[in-house]
């Protein structure tokens, strides 16, 4: 038969680095067979600023400025492991109020980050309305952050031994207004997408990854929990005041785009629960502990990993005395999550590759560092 002698040739498609749906400067080279993706080669590094090298030239207190700029959608969550690492080296006690403030802003930041995911993911799936809803609610959180930290994205708020400023006087009123607003916002968001038939058809069974593969690639955070692995460092390696707070660690089982989406929506609810408890339990007291004027930790090293909205954000801090850190290694969750992208995309259609990329929620700032 004539047809059987026809040979197919794999074709290459280049996406990015300037592509509206790559969530930053990310380039992937797809090898396709017809409509199906055979292989995907990621190219990163377009946003590499050498954060780890720069950190070696800054004093200990100044490094948080750089870490803000790695995962810029969850800046407060990035500052946390670094100050925790430094506190462990210095043996500094953090006042309880400061711990509560940290958890409060981190969880709000998680909601803001997941809302950003929600909006962008909706847009990736072809729906533009979710973006508007997500940004409406995210804006309210940003207003609260502006009042607390003075910044919208780059907060530089956490200090060794506590936080930079105490909460503003009217923080309770602000928060009591913000919480119901967000709760309603999450319901609105869910109504738009979670049961939307087009959305379901686009996402269920797309970009699947098994739990074993996910662990092998070092996936963490919502992407791992969507495969049914219940790993949440807030619970498994308890830090700060998380042991005193009640929250669930939701998991899903299929590990596809829909599960990764739905899991994040559920996480927003849990974060809101934590925020509420912080509002109730917030103790009085200082917001900054007793800290030496000059930060000069003794020789030593420590690795601290915390639960960032995207997974485990780890800081490996080495000190050999002196005013400057000897080595700051940043374990960025998106960097590790991105390694599994090829596994998720293989066998999917080209039309879905944007969606799959969106579903793992990368921030190129922390991939490239």
């Amino acid at each position: 038969m004539a047809e059987s002698r026809l040979e197919t040739v794999d074709m290459f498609i280049n996406m990015g680095p300037q592509h509206p749906s790559t969530h930053g400067v990310f380039r992937m080279v797809l090898t396709i067979d017809g409509e199906q993706i055979v292989d995907m080669k990621p190219h990163i590094g377009y946003l590499h600023r050498g954060v780890e090298k720069l950190a070696e030239g800054l004093r200990y207190r100044e490094v948080t400025v750089l870490l803000d700029r790695t995962d810029y959608l969850a800046a407060l969550n990035n500052e946390l492991p670094y100050v925790m690492a430094l506190e462990k080296l210095l043996d500094v006690k953090v006042p309880e109020r400061a711990e509560y403030i940290r958890v409060l802003v981190c969880e709000l930041n998680r909601i803001a980050s997941h809302l950003m995911f929600y909006g962008a993911f909706g847009a990736d799936a072809g729906a533009t309305t979710p973006f508007m809803y997500a940004f409406r609610d995210r804006e309210e959180i940003q207003h609260f952050f502006e009042a607390v930290t003075g910044g919208r994205l780059m907060h530089n708020y956490f200090r060794v031994g506590g936080v930079r400023y105490d909460l503003p006087e009217d923080w309770r009123e602000r928060l009591t207004k913000l919480i119901p607003h967000l709760r309603k916002g999450i319901v609105d968001c869910e109504r738009l997408l979670s049961d939307n038939e087009i959305f379901l058809n686009r996402t269920i069974g797309v970009g699947q990854i098994s739990a074993a593969d996910a662990i092998d690639y070092g996936l963490t955070g919502p992407n791992l929990r969507a495969c049914g692995v219940r790993l949440d460092l807030r619970r498994d390696q308890p830090y700060s005041v998380y042991p005193k707070l009640e929250f669930d660690v939701p998991t899903r089982s299929r590990g596809d785009c829909y599960d990764r989406y739905l899991l994040r929506v559920e996480e927003m609810r849990q974060s809101l629960r934590i925020v509420e408890q912080c509002l109730e339990q917030m103790p009085d007291g200082p917001s900054l502990g007793e800290v030496p004027r000059v930060i000069r930790p003794k020789e030593g090293e420590v690795y601290v990993g915390t639960e960032n909205p995207r997974g485990e954000y780890g800081i490996y801090l080495v000190s050999r005395g002196g005013d400057y850190p000897y080595r700051v290694k940043v374990r960025a969750p998106s960097f590790c999550n991105l390694m599994a992208l090829n596994e998720m995309m293989r066998g999917c259609y080209i039309a879905d590759c944007v969606l799959i990329l969106g579903s793992i929620d990368i921030v190129l700032g922390e991939v490239d560092r």
């Binding site: 590499h48 462990k88 498994d236 485990e312 991105l338």
Partner: protein, 181 residues
């Protein structure tokens, strides 16, 4: 790889007075699982750390992962640190067990004049980019890595920026302006 290097025993942990281990349970278990391999324990602030010779790296990692009572299935991070005074790099592997919820670190020294170490990608696929990054930024070679191309830097970049010998003029000026080193 030469056998007779002694640089693997570079000590970077806080020089604590020898005393009871912070994690005796873990230390005992690890020593049991790694019997037959030369292991030095190290005191790190909040986890058990061991220093091994680089020739044992793959065997150690396999055993730590496959043993039921340790089951370190998640490789959290691979960091390489440059110690120019000792002319050695130190690779640090931070491990975590999802099921058993415990952690530890494995360290191994890589001498300057033979900067090569086995890749652990065959144990944890997630080591891939961490090792590529270290190869590029510090100039350490990972033997057995499937694809050790540059990852982050531009193709025409020369040098290994995370080495201490790589100077960034702006950083030195900033330090100088502050008037202290």
């Amino acid at each position: 790889m030469t056998e007779e290097h002694s640089a693997h025993s570079v000590h970077t942990a806080p020089k604590k007075e020898p005393g009871p281990s912070l994690f005796p349970e873990m230390e005992r278990l690890v020593a049991e699982v790694l019997s037959g391999i030369e292991v030095t324990s190290e005191q790190v602030v909040d986890e058990h750390a061991i220093i091994i010779d680089r020739k044992d790296l793959l065997a150690v990692c396999r055993r730590l992962k496959d043993n039921q009572r340790l089951s370190f299935d998640l490789l959290r991070c691979v960091s390489v640190v440059d110690y120019p005074n000792e002319s050695v790099f130190q690779a640090v592997y931070h491990l975590y067990s999802i099921g058993l919820k415990h952690r530890m670190a494995v360290k191994t020294g890589i001498p300057y004049d033979d900067a090569i170490v086995d890749s652990v990608t065959s144990v944890w696929a997630g080591a891939d980019w961490h090792e590529r990054e270290a190869a590029e930024l510090l100039g350490v070679e990972f033997r057995g890595h499937p694809n050790l191309r540059p990852l982050l830097l531009p193709d025409d970049f020369e040098g290994h920026p995370l080495r201490k010998s790589f100077k960034v003029p702006e950083l030195d000026q900033a330090r100088f302006r502050r008037g202290r080193e």
